[in-house]
Symmetry: C2
Subunit: 711 residues, 2 copies
Amino acid sequence: MLVSALLTSLGINFGLCVLFFTLYSILRKQPFYYDVYVPRLLVEGTSKRRSRFNLERLIPSPGWVRKAWKLSEEELLSLSGLDAVVYMRIITFSLKVFLVAGIIGIFVILPVNCTGDQLEDIDFSDFSNNSLDVFTISNISSGSKRLWVHFSAVYVVTIFIWYLLYYEYKYISSKRIAYFYSSKPQPHQFTVVVRSIPVSVRSSISDSIETFFKEYHPSTYLSHTVVHRTNKLRGLIKLYKRIVRLQGNSTEHKYGRAGCFGLFGHKVDLVDHYEKKLENIEENVRLEQSELSLAGDEIPAAFVSFKTRYGAATAFHLQQSINPTHWVTEQAPEPHDVYWPFFTSTFFRRWISKLVVIVACILLTILFLLPVIFVQGLTNLSQLEVWLPFLESILTITFVSEVVTGYLPSLILQLFLKAVPPIMELLSSIQGYVSHSDIEKSACNKVLWFTIWNIFFATVFSGSVLYQLSLILDPKNIPARLAVAVPAQASFFIAYVVTSGWTSTSSELFRLIPLIGSLITKPCKSTDDELVVPTIPFHRDIPRLSFFGLLGITYFFLAPLILPFLLVYFCLAYIIYRNQFINVYEPKFETAGKFWPIVHNSMIFSLVLMHCIAVGIFTLKKVSLASTLIFPLPILTLLFNEYCRKRFRPIFIAYSAESLIKKDREDQNDATMDEFFHKLVTAYQDPALMPIQFSTNTDSLHSPLIYSDEV
Amino acid sequence: MLVSALLTSLGINFGLCVLFFTLYSILRKQPFYYDVYVPRLLVEGTSKRRSRFNLERLIPSPGWVRKAWKLSEEELLSLSGLDAVVYMRIITFSLKVFLVAGIIGIFVILPVNCTGDQLEDIDFSDFSNNSLDVFTISNISSGSKRLWVHFSAVYVVTIFIWYLLYYEYKYISSKRIAYFYSSKPQPHQFTVVVRSIPVSVRSSISDSIETFFKEYHPSTYLSHTVVHRTNKLRGLIKLYKRIVRLQGNSTEHKYGRAGCFGLFGHKVDLVDHYEKKLENIEENVRLEQSELSLAGDEIPAAFVSFKTRYGAATAFHLQQSINPTHWVTEQAPEPHDVYWPFFTSTFFRRWISKLVVIVACILLTILFLLPVIFVQGLTNLSQLEVWLPFLESILTITFVSEVVTGYLPSLILQLFLKAVPPIMELLSSIQGYVSHSDIEKSACNKVLWFTIWNIFFATVFSGSVLYQLSLILDPKNIPARLAVAVPAQASFFIAYVVTSGWTSTSSELFRLIPLIGSLITKPCKSTDDELVVPTIPFHRDIPRLSFFGLLGITYFFLAPLILPFLLVYFCLAYIIYRNQFINVYEPKFETAGKFWPIVHNSMIFSLVLMHCIAVGIFTLKKVSLASTLIFPLPILTLLFNEYCRKRFRPIFIAYSAESLIKKDREDQNDATMDEFFHKLVTAYQDPALMPIQFSTNTDSLHSPLIYSDEV
């Protein structure tokens, strides 16, 4: 790729970013778009839809940047919870890493690369016609003493990243413990999920649970809630709600404002029709609910609550039954975090579904290589001309060819990638996790490894599945092959950072897709419809940040030109995500930092990969002493990781006896605990079994709550 | 190798076995050898050294075989504990496997192999000159339909082994639980080992422990014993004991019978000399002990005892401190099972020593290849003649060449292998385990993998470290290379089974080395010396059994001729080890079956290895459909293993809450528990700190026990 192609790509994306920023600065002040740009504030009531018009609203203002910048970590913690803090710390961590790596890269390595004599000299008179390879390590001739500069840089940056990783793990651990200490009593702290409860003929599941826990945890057992199979009921309630909404709309049209299309007489019929249907469904729902409450479709799984956190932890940590596959306990999620639909129950079924999901992931990874191969074809113009000869005439136009090689490949890739996080989330959800947070964590991991495999390796090794497989089966050649292939793709990844990174963050700010969605659906929505505040899709964004981290770490000494672009990306992300946490996203659950270990692992992987490439490069460039001296680095990195795993990992799995008992003691003198325990008994009721407000209000003595979230 | 060479080896070993059996049958009846052949009965007092002579004593009688045969599992359990039962079940498990595999192998596969047409036909007139390869799969020509017989055999035997493995794991699990239910209260059930106790300047370690556990386990905490650094004291006590013994001998010589060498006057001086020295040491020991009791060299590690088993289990399962590397708990071993010398304490030091041991094991494995290469040279006579040309004349003698190729190689190998278990035990002991049983378990694993690697793979791939390494680094060619190399070594391994297997078991019966040792030391020993009953070295014998299992499973369809020899081996082992459990070995510790998972894993490995070889063989023989159809087998085997790991493995790690609480409840009504708790407080006292009986008995108010075992 030539400098000019990079500049074109840069120009397009810079333009897009400026456009998005400007539009955002204007649109966010328009009350019409409040539900897109400040839904959180709207729901919280801090922003009201002001309809008063003034000119200021049309002038883009950067006030939001200042506000986002000034947000302190404590404020962020109270606003969006520890997960948001951890998310922002991933960004600041990357900023720190790439600031140091950037200084070394730009001021030390880049000049060394440029003054190399392997390729042609830089043509300063026609700068944009230089190949980008001039700025990479490829420009250094074999056996050159200059390679020791790269060698030292690898050592310095590795040690710096170790230090930062350790510090960050420690910091987030302490935050996690502090968060626990400062938390109010919460249902999930006192509860465990029990699965694979052995079914006996003589007694119901509920009775078995009561007998078991009263027998073995007499002093701490409080209550339990058996899970019911509510798929059918959930379907009914969904239908019911849709009809209620339709009826509401129709009634509005009937008595209120005129229908927008004037089909008046027809509407009246519809209303009658709905009312009849509603009565039918209400009857069904009521029947079903009462049946279920009477121990109908019980699933051998339950939420068991205890009187102390320590009691719950004991039940979680110890194997309960003689048969380890019975009475399997795990930590309960927060009540609103429970994922009811796939509450798969038996030990064996969960195991099988896990295997199925693994196979599905592998298949997806293999199938996804097809678009990647196509994208690869684009960066190679001459090959494209062979494939599609009729394009030859167009491709000779400089601008077109620059767009095609510089911008189009990563755009197409990115569009395909958009589909991956939802698919992975779906796969994780059928894997048998009981909570949204677990599903998201698992999906996060899946997306991360998918990205690394399908973007990094598939791009580097130009596609072919068989070639990649042959690589796994021939591990001793990995460094050599990496050394040849990785530097060759430097320009592609620089372009990738600019297109995928820059554009994705600025479109995150502009909320392009929600905006379009809102513009389409708004005319048909009634104003009474509840506004749903979105949650940040960690499983989409954390893998992206980690992947850019991987790119930066692996390329910093090969093609330091990537670093300024990465720094810009992380700076943008820093401001934009802070702004989004203030205005847009609301936390749906709180894992208290459980996403950090995923990022830590990905950083360790990046480091080891970088060392592998370094070994290969130094061997290829015939500085065998350097390649030998790199060897201790991956080993030390893995040992460092092992140490961190022992020192910090347990903190992210469960709280220690020390902290649990301390918290329990604090509560002993708390007068509100009785009330809390009273609520705890019903905290894990399936929302589908909650009474809903029926249209005929005569016989409903139930609470009028509608849990719309889960049904 | 020719049939005649095998027959020679067979003849030698059969002769040895008969000799050992006959000698054993005579010698075991001689009172002079009671301490070698029935030490256990001697110590228990069931056998007395009868000095009355009768002729019957000189006639070999097979009475012991009947006695060993009749021993029931319950009797064995009460005699030698669950570990011995598990050990015998490993043998019966192998017997079952190879009985079925043997029937298939000898009656189905062997005829098919023999009637193959790849090699020369069997020459029945000069049977002993046939090559053994005629009986192996090498004799089947490529693409032959007969290979489907082998294919079916692989499937049948694999499924049979799955069934047996599952059944056995289940049976041993149930035995383990039953053993726990029927056990009396034992100190280790109520105790945990706490390590990495944070040292504070203000309070002693003992105080910190008391404060911590009284704070966080107030209802269940009973007492604790801090570990002291007693290396110096242990040395002193050892010296003291030696001198006491020498003094005893001298005194005996002085006042009792005459000295055997008549150096009378010199002895008297010696006695005086010893008495002075003794006083000195006594003073030192007393000083050291009182110093240590006063919180001198405390190690930040302790045994903490609880009032209930459940309390101890809770402390073991839950992370105690906020920092996961502090207050690290693990299950306590039985008091007499504690390994005091290497009570390494800090988290970091243990971690480092573990790494060092891993490196040492790798080095040992690599260095060990040297003798293996030499042995390999012996099976190849022509190469030996090139190396050592002066041997040429001797090697032309048929018998010598048969001994050299058939017998010598595995004998040399076996002698070298003798050194491995003690070395591995030493390595395990510096790895930081707190109990002999853990050390032995770890050593067992090390020896097993060492054997598989250094005997199986090194023999199969003829030595070269680099070649083996290249194999790991090129995994896709493993099946193909195995398929070529494994059948070629069939005759070596048949000879190995006969020499190493048969001879080792019969010399186990004859106790060759203890016999020689006893003959040498007896003249100088006084009769008062305590007779030490040996314990069975599981880390030597279990890997051996597992390795023969691996040989049988991998070779049963390649060279079924190995199976009858294996069956004879396991039959011998069955009778001999039962006899040894009755007469010789006494259990030193009780892991309650924790050795089984090691055997299970090795069986799973053998199966997968066998499938790999089968894939390679069928590809090599151009029956690609068969090699494809084998593929599901290793996958299903690994899934089966995964299932067993979930279903049974937790039972072998810790007992469930259910069983712990049941046992605790039983004890509540037991009147003897008070006494037990009283004893429990001092159960984990370091034996070096126990008062010893001093020669000057005036001021010793202490108990006169001498714990000779540990010091």
